[in-house]
Symmetry: C2
Subunit: 337 residues, 2 copies
């Protein structure tokens, strides 16, 4: 760790150092690199995601939730590969003049999720920027050698499954922006919470190894991500909109305004696991769902066809047009990337 | 890899994908994570450094050199730990409206150094930012298990060594800014090149395993970094300014203006290896220097004393005051952190 403005430098070191506790190779974050012992029998799974204030989160979002979202979007990627999370490297470009209170709250958020997910911060960098807060996390996990789940693993005839509920993240952003008039306060609060604090399926992911064929997390929108999975697997998909699992809050929102279905199917920020499995896996998946208390819902199937194409049967039985492989939502200034 | 503005998205994917060639676990950068097989007998060495336009490099620096500097500052950290470089993850926050020509030149720079250092790009993220170009690299290397070099490894009585020449980077920035009047054009060009394109000591670093005790790279300035090494090792240091190795260009600059010694000792951006070794290692180090064609120069020694204190004997035999452990050069807008 190096850098930061003079006063903040010490504070950041003080806040981050305890997050390395329990992993000797992190050297207490006092060196330029960390040493990670090899674990024979495992593959290391590496992912890296960045978040920019005003692009991936709201500039006035609570700093502890920003920190936790950063960790969680990365752990969601690991979970969808079947990996258990282990180690984090964090690079933070803090705007000039970031306050000590902000940094303390950010550090508290990191600490909370480092504890919750039993991971260690082992390194990174701290710099200052004349631009917006820019955060990058590299997360390292592990999975039994050769057993990791890939986008490309789907096979013709597989059933398509998703965990949890879809659409909460996109609707949560609308809730925060006051774009869901008439929805009960409890629902608005639930949706906003799902946008601000994703729940990566770290318990589920590793249990899907051996059951799932193709897998990825839903971060850019269900239809778009399913398109990615199909392209990687050389297949096409059909899903039924009516089967896509909705939280009570999302169902209530759609009850008010059916046109929100587009946001549900393509809005992003779900951080659920999207996977395919052979029809014979249904019983095992049903048992796993009950054991973990995580909903697992079959929403369609993959088959040979126009590679990467995702067809959606609408509630009325006719195809819903969600564009070429789903929206990329570039028009949305908060989702922009 | 996800994100980017619509047009650039495809271009970036096209430019980056070939950089994953030769490492199957990168999955051609088409997945959300990479799979890295365990290598029994080795520790993975992980480092992460960020660079912000206008802070760590000049906004109008050639894009290929920006890309290569990003790789090299990270490989310099690995080298100083005794590690050979293996894998890279890159996160790039590109300013809105970054041009295709810029991206192509940036990609060409990445490709050049991926080839030169025989590493693979295995993942990362691409986002857009309303702020300055912000680049973060995670570099993974390997070293024989338990043999990696640490800042904390120095022992009382060790000789302090540095590779190559010190001060070129800081003087190079001055050269680019026109702050070295009267220096020959060839010297100015050499120094500017050393600022823009560091030469990480990837050949040297792994060969120091078993010879060096404490080690780190010189990135924040010789005196400051030596202070870090001494603090981690619980020792104090004394070096002789007259022994600090200078390139012919740096020597010429000091010949014009002796006050530039401060920039040489504390200016940063050297990316040389600073290490300590027992006096008995001198013969081996001299042989290694000759074999590799890399200068290795003894500049002082470490001993018990005020922990972290670095004393510098000036050319006139009196102590040079370089402040508390060296400058942090926060006052310098280009060197910001």
């Amino acid at each position: 760790m190096s850098g930061g403005a003079p006063d903040e430098f010490g504070l950041i070191a003080e806040l981050f150092a305890p997050l390395a506790a329990g992993f000797p190779g992190a050297l207490g974050l006092t060196d330029d690199a960390a040493f990670i012992p090899a674990e024979p029998g495992y593959d290391t799974v590496a992912t890296m995601d960045s978040m920019v204030a005003g692009v991936h989160f709201l500039p006035d979002d609570p700093p502890d939730l920003v920190a936790r979202k950063l960790i969680r979007v990365n752990l969601s990627d690991l979970a969808a590969k079947g990996a258990e999370p282990r180690l984090l490297l964090l690079s933070a470009a803090f705007p000039v003049g970031v306050g000590q209170d902000w940094l303390r709250a950010f550090g508290a958020g990191l600490a909370e999720d480092v504890r919750e997910f039993a991971v260690h911060l082992i390194g990174g960098d701290t710099v200052s920027t004349p631009g917006p807060l820019t955060l990058t996390l590299t997360a390292l996990g592990r999975v039994a050698a050769g057993r990791g789940l890939k986008r490309s693993g789907a096979r013709a005839g597989d059933t398509i499954w998703v965990s949890g509920g879809i659409g909460d993240g996109a609707l949560g952003l609308k809730a925060i922006r006051g774009q869901l008039p008439g929805l009960a306060a409890a629902h608005l609060e639930f949706l906003a919470g799902r946008y601000r604090l994703p729940q990566p399926r770290v318990g589920l992911g590793p249990r899907l190894v051996g059951l799932a064929h193709g897998a990825m997390d839903v971060s850019d929108g269900l239809v778009q991500d399913l398109g990615h999975l199909c392209r990687a697997s050389g297949l096409a998909a059909r899903i039924a909109a009516a089967r896509v699992p909705l939280s009570p809050a999302a169902a209530a929102a759609l009850g008010h305004d059916q046109s929100l279905l587009a946001s549900v199917l393509a809005g992003g920020d779900d951080y659920e696991v999207l996977f395919t499995a052979p029809p014979g896996a249904e019983e095992s998946l049903t048992r796993l769902s009950a054991e973990l208390g995580v909903a697992l819902t079959a929403i369609g199937s993959v088959a040979p066809g126009e590679t990467g194409k995702v067809a959606v049967t609408g509630p009325d039985g006719r195809d819903v047009d969600v564009g070429q492989g789903g929206w990329r939502h570039f028009g949305d200034p908060q989702q922009g990337e």
